[in-house]
Symmetry: D2
C-alpha cells in the first residue's frame, strides 16, 4: 500500500488581480461593459473594480502605467495559520519577498515573485464588500445586486501567465503553494507546453503557457485574466455589444477541450487580454484526480474541442507587448482601440 | 374536389399598441428595465416607446389616464390596396368607424371597434425609425443597436383581449380582417373558451380569452400585451431584476402548451399585464394549417405544458380593473407598486 | 403618391428537399444524430426523413446516386388557385417543365428548373404526418413527439444554392414565384454577390451565392440545406456529439450578420453541406421591408457578426464536387467520413 | 486578534447514493431518460448507475425493496489519513458504526448513522470508471462520452434529508465530518428550520430540512437526491420529455433563492424525489464565508427567488412515505406512475 502525501489546502482562492494600463479611462469604459463597478480610486490614480458576485471589496485593480501588463496576482490563504505555513515555505524558495502593509481591501500581505518573476502576494485578512442602496440585493447570498448595465460578469475566475519554463512554474505552484496540476499539454521532449492548476473545484485558478517569444524579453509576460459568466448566452450578447462598440474580439465564442470552457477572448483598450468564461466547464471534486495529459497529437482538441481554430496572435501576443511581425495585422487592429462612449440610457 | 377559398393577406402585422396608465412615470421606469426607449412625447403627455428590433418609430404608446387599460390596437395593412379592401369589408360590419388624421409615426388610419368594443385601427403608411449616433447599429438589418441597459426585449409580439364571446371575436377577426384561427380551447357547449389567431407565421398576433367577470362590466377589458425576447435565458435575468426592484411577477417563467411559449407575466406599475415571451414557440408556414383544438380535458396541458399552474388572478384580473374579492391578495400586492429608481450605471 | 404593386403570396413555404448521396447508409446514420426519423423507403431505394416539427410526411429525401448534390427543391403553394397562377407564370419562363404524378407525401406537382438549372417543383396537395404510438405527442400542436435520441432538429428551414449569376436567380424567384429579396451582398459592379429571399416571416427560405468555381462546370451546384433548432445551446451539444463521432464540422458555432443566425456547418458523410440553425435570427413582418444591402466594405460583418472567419472551403466547396486544389486539405478531411455506429442506448 | 480554528478538509465529496425502490424496472426506465447508464447488477438484484461526468464506477445504486427511501449516503475522504481522522472522531459520536468490506466500486468503508439514523458511510479507496468502445470520449478530461439518449445529467450533486432537529444534524456534520454551514433558514425560536452544508465550492453536498411530519414516524426520511445539468435549457427538454411520458413533475423549473439554483423536482416511479439542477447557482471560494441566514420573513425569497411557489407536497412528502391526507391528490397522482417504454431510437 502506497502512503499518499496529504494535499495542502493553504491557498483558498484567487482573490484579486492588478493590471497595468496605459489608457486608464478607456480601460474603465471597457470594464463598465462587463458590468464591473468602480469602488475606489487611490491617490496614485489606481482604480479598484468589482464584479457583482465577488465577495471582497474588489477583484480587479487598474494601475496607470506606460505599458500594459500584470502588476500583481493576489491569493487568499485559507487561514492565518495557513498563511504562516506558506510564508515559511516560500522563504526558502523565492527572492525579493517581503511583508507589505495593509492596503485598500486587504490586510498585510506577503509579496514575492515566482521563479520567472511574476509578481504575487498572499494574505489572509480581507475586507468584504458591503452593498448599500441600489447596490443591495434582496438575495441574502449575493454580495451585490446584479447590475442593469452592460452584460455583467459574475466574478473573477483565473489568470493565465506566459512562461519560459512551464515545468518550473508547475513545480513552484505545487511545492510552495499546494496547487494541484489538473491538465497539461506535453511536448515530445517530455516537458510541459502548458498547464492548468487549481486549489479548488475549478480546473484552474492559474495557467501557464510556454511563450513562443520567450527568448525575446528579460522580464515576465501576462497572457490573460478571466471573468466568469456561467451562462454561455451572455457571450453572445457581449460579442454583439463589443462589435457594435469596435472593441477587438480576438477569438470566440469557442469551446476549449482543456477545462471544457465555452469562452471568448477580448483585448481591452489598454492592451491586456481578457477572457470571458461562458459556461461552467467541469468541476473537480475527486481528491485523487489524476492530471489530464494532452499529447502533441491531442493538442488540437485540447485547444479547441469544436469550432474554429485559435488565431496565431493567441500564441504570441502578451503584455508587455513584444514587437512581433508575425502578427502585424493584429497590432494594427488593436492600435485603433479607444474609449467608447456608451449610451447613457 | 373541394375548392378552397383563398386566404386573405391584407393585414400584415400588429404594429403598435396604446395603453392607458394612471402612473406614467412609474410605467416608464418599468419599460426602461425592458430596454425600451422613449422616442417621443406628444403635447397631451402621451409617451412613445420602442424595442430595439421594432422597425417603425414606436410600438408602444403610454397615455396618462385615470385607470389602466387598452387604448388602441394598431394593425398595419399589407398594401394601400389591402387597406382599402379591409375598410370596405369593415364598413358593413362595425360601428363608430372613421378615418383619422396621420399622427406620430403613422399615416392616416381607419379607426373602428370590434363587436365587443375593443378599439382598433388599421393603416398602411408608416414612418420608420432612423437610428442616429449611439443608437445606430453596425448590423445593417437591425433598426437600432441593442441597448446596454436593462434586459432588452426585441419587439412587440401580440395582444390578448378579454372577451364576452370568444366565438364572436374569432368570426370578426377572420371574416373582416382575414385572420386565421391557430389554436382554441373548446368548451363542452361547443363554444370557444379562448382562441389564438394570426396573419403571419406567428401562432398569434391576437388572442381572446373569455372573461370570468364578463357579467360585471359594460365596456371592454384587456388581458395583456407581449414583447418578445427569443432567448429564454433573458426571462431569468428579468425575473431577477424585477424581484430586486419589487415589481409584481404574476406568473412564470413557465411553458404554455398553446403556442409552446416559454414566458412570464408581470403587472406594470400602471396596472396593465405585460407578457415577456422568452423562446420562439413554434412557427406556422403550412398554408392549410388546421386550427388546433384543446378540449376541456386538455385544458391543463394547453395552459401549462410543464411547470406550476397559473394563479387564479390570471383568469380574473384585467384592465380596467373590476373589483373581485376572489383575488384580494393579488390587489393588495399590486397596490404597492411604485416607481423604482434604477441604478444610474 | 406611388401605387405599389401588391405582393404575391402564392408560394407558402419550402416543404421538402431531396438530396443525392453516394453513401446512403452513412448519410442516414448522420441524420439520426439530428433526431430525424426514417418514415418511408421507396422501391428505388430512396429514403424519406422528417424532423419532429415538420408538418408533412417528410421534409428530406435521400436518393442513392454516384455523387452528392441537390435532387429537388419542393415548394408548397398557398392554395390550388395559387398553384395554377404560378404554373401559368412559369410556363412562359422556364424550360423542361412538366406536371408529374403524385408521389409519396405529396399530390401532383409541376416540375421545372431555374434559369441556371436547379431542379424545383411546386405543388399544393400534401399528406400530413400522423404520429402513432410512441411518436404521438400530448401537445396537440406538435406533429410528433420530440425524439429522445440525438440532438433533434425541429424542422426544415432553408436551402442555399450556388449560382453563376445571383441577379438572374433573384429576378426569377421574385418575378416567377413572388419571393421578396430580404438581404444581399453587392459587388462594386452593382451586381449581387449573394442574396437571401423569402415568402414568409423568415429572412430566407432560399439563398443564392455566386460560385467561385462557376467557370469550372456546366451543370448546377448546391451549397447547403438548413435545419432549425431554435435554441443555440443545441449547437453545443451537436458540436460535442459530432466531434466524438468524427464528423466534419466545417464552421461554427458562429453568428452571421446576414439573417443574424447563430449556426454551424457540417459535411454529412455523403458530401452535402448541412447547416444547423441555432437561434431565431430575426423575423420580418413589415410588408414593405426594404432589402438590406451589404456593400463590399460590410461583407466581413455580413458573413460573421462576431467570431472566427469562415474557412476558405465555405466559398468553394459545393456538391457535386469540383476538384479544387485550393481546399485540398478540406477534401482530405472529408474523405475519411464513414458510417458511425452510434450507441444503442 | 481572534485565532480561528482551521477548517477541516477530510471529507472530499459526495461520491455515491443508494436508494430503495419498490419498482426497480420502472425506476431504471426513469433514470435512462436522464441518460444514466447501468454499469453493474449485483447478485441481490441491486443495479448501479452512472452519469457521464461521474468519475467513479457509479454514483447511484438502486436496491429492490418493499418501499422507497434512502439506503446509503457515501462520502469519499480526501486521503487515507483523513479517513482515519474522521473514523476516530466518529467513534466517540455515533452508534452502530462498523468497517465494512470492499464492495462494487469502492474499497472498505466505515459505516455509521447520523444522530437521527440516516445511514452514511465514508471511504477512501475507490474504483474509477474506464470507458470502452462507444462510451469512450475523445475529451481526455471526460470519463465517458456524453450519451446520445435522453437528456443526460452530468453528475451527482447533493442529497437532501428530512430531519427532526436540523440543529442536531448541522452540529454533527460540522463537528464530526468538517462540513461548513453555508445557508440556513432560522425559526423565530432561534432554531434552524433548514440548512445547507458543504465541504467544497458547492453550496451544498447535503441539506437538512425539518420534517412537517416528524412526529409521525420513528425512523428516518429522505427528501431528494440531485443530479446536475449545468445548463438550464436541459430542464426544458426534460420537462417536455417527462410530460410526454407521464412522469410526475412535482415543481419547477424554478429558481431557488437559497443556492441560487434553477431546478426541477420529479418523483421517480419508485416514489423517491429526484432534483435536476439546471444552472450553476453560485460557488463558494471564500474560506471565511459566513453562513447566510434567511429569517422567517425572508423564507419566501429563500425558497423561490422568482416564479411560482412550491406545492404543499414539497414540505410533506418524503420517503419512506407517511400517510398524509393533506396531500392526498399528490398521492393519487404518483400512484399512476408506471414503467414507460421509451422509443427504441
Amino acid at each position: 500500500m502506497t502512503v499518499h502525501t496529504e494535499p495542502i489546502f493553504d491557498v483558498a482562492q484567487l482573490a484579486m488581480v492588478a493590471l497595468y494600463t496605459p489608457k486608464l479611462a478607456e480601460s474603465l469604459a471597457f470594464f463598465s461593459i462587463l458590468g464591473m463597478k468602480q469602488v475606489h480610486k487611490d491617490e496614485d490614480g489606481a482604480v479598484y473594480l468589482r464584479a457583482y458576485e465577488d465577495p471582497y471589496k474588489y477583484s480587479l485593480k487598474l494601475i496607470p502605467h506606460h505599458e500594459a501588463g500584470l502588476a500583481k496576482v493576489s491569493w487568499r490563504a485559507t487561514s492565518e495559520q495557513a498563511l504562516q505555513r506558506r510564508v515559511k515555505e516560500l522563504e526558502s524558495r523565492v527572492e525579493g519577498e517581503k511583508w507589505v502593509e495593509p492596503s485598500y481591501g486587504r490586510g498585510s500581505a506577503y509579496e514575492f515573485t515566482t521563479p520567472e518573476g511574476h509578481p504575487f502576494e498572499i494574505f489572509f485578512d480581507v475586507e468584504y464588500f458591503e452593498a448599500t442602496g441600489d447596490n443591495s440585493s434582496k438575495l441574502n447570498n449575493r454580495p451585490q445586486r446584479r447590475p442593469l448595465h452592460g452584460i455583467p460578469v459574475r466574478r473573477l475566475d483565473h489568470v493565465n501567465l506566459l512562461a519560459k519554463s512551464v515545468d518550473k512554474n508547475v513545480d513552484f505552484m505545487r511545492d510552495a503553494l499546494g496547487f494541484k496540476l489538473r491538465e497539461y499539454l506535453s511536448k515530445p521532449t517530455g516537458e510541459k507546453g502548458a498547464s492548468w492548476l487549481s486549489v479548488s473545484a475549478l480546473v484552474h485558478e492559474i495557467a501557464f503557457m510556454e511563450d513562443d517569444l520567450k527568448d525575446h524579453y528579460d522580464d515576465y509576460r501576462f497572457h490573460h485574466v478571466a471573468f466568469w459568466y456561467g451562462d454561455p448566452q451572455d457571450l453572445e450578447y457581449l460579442g454583439d455589444a463589443l462589435t457594435e462598440l469596435d472593441y477587438k474580439i480576438e477569438a470566440g465564442p469557442l469551446k476549449h477541450g482543456v477545462s471544457q470552457a465555452k469562452c471568448m477572448y477580448v483585448i481591452e483598450p489598454g492592451g491586456n487580454r481578457i477572457e470571458l468564461f461562458g459556461d461552467t466547464g467541469y468541476l473537480i471534486f475527486d481528491p485523487t484526480f489524476e492530471p489530464v495529459e494532452w499529447k502533441e497529437s491531442d493538442a488540437e482538441k485540447a485547444i479547441i474541442w469544436y469550432g474554429a481554430p485559435l488565431p496565431h496572435s493567441y500564441f504570441r501576443y502578451g503584455t508587455p507587448v513584444v514587437e512581433d511581425l508575425e502578427i502585424k495585422q493584429f497590432y494594427d487592429d488593436i492600435k485603433v482601440i479607444k474609449a467608447k462612449v456608451v449610451e447613457p440610457n
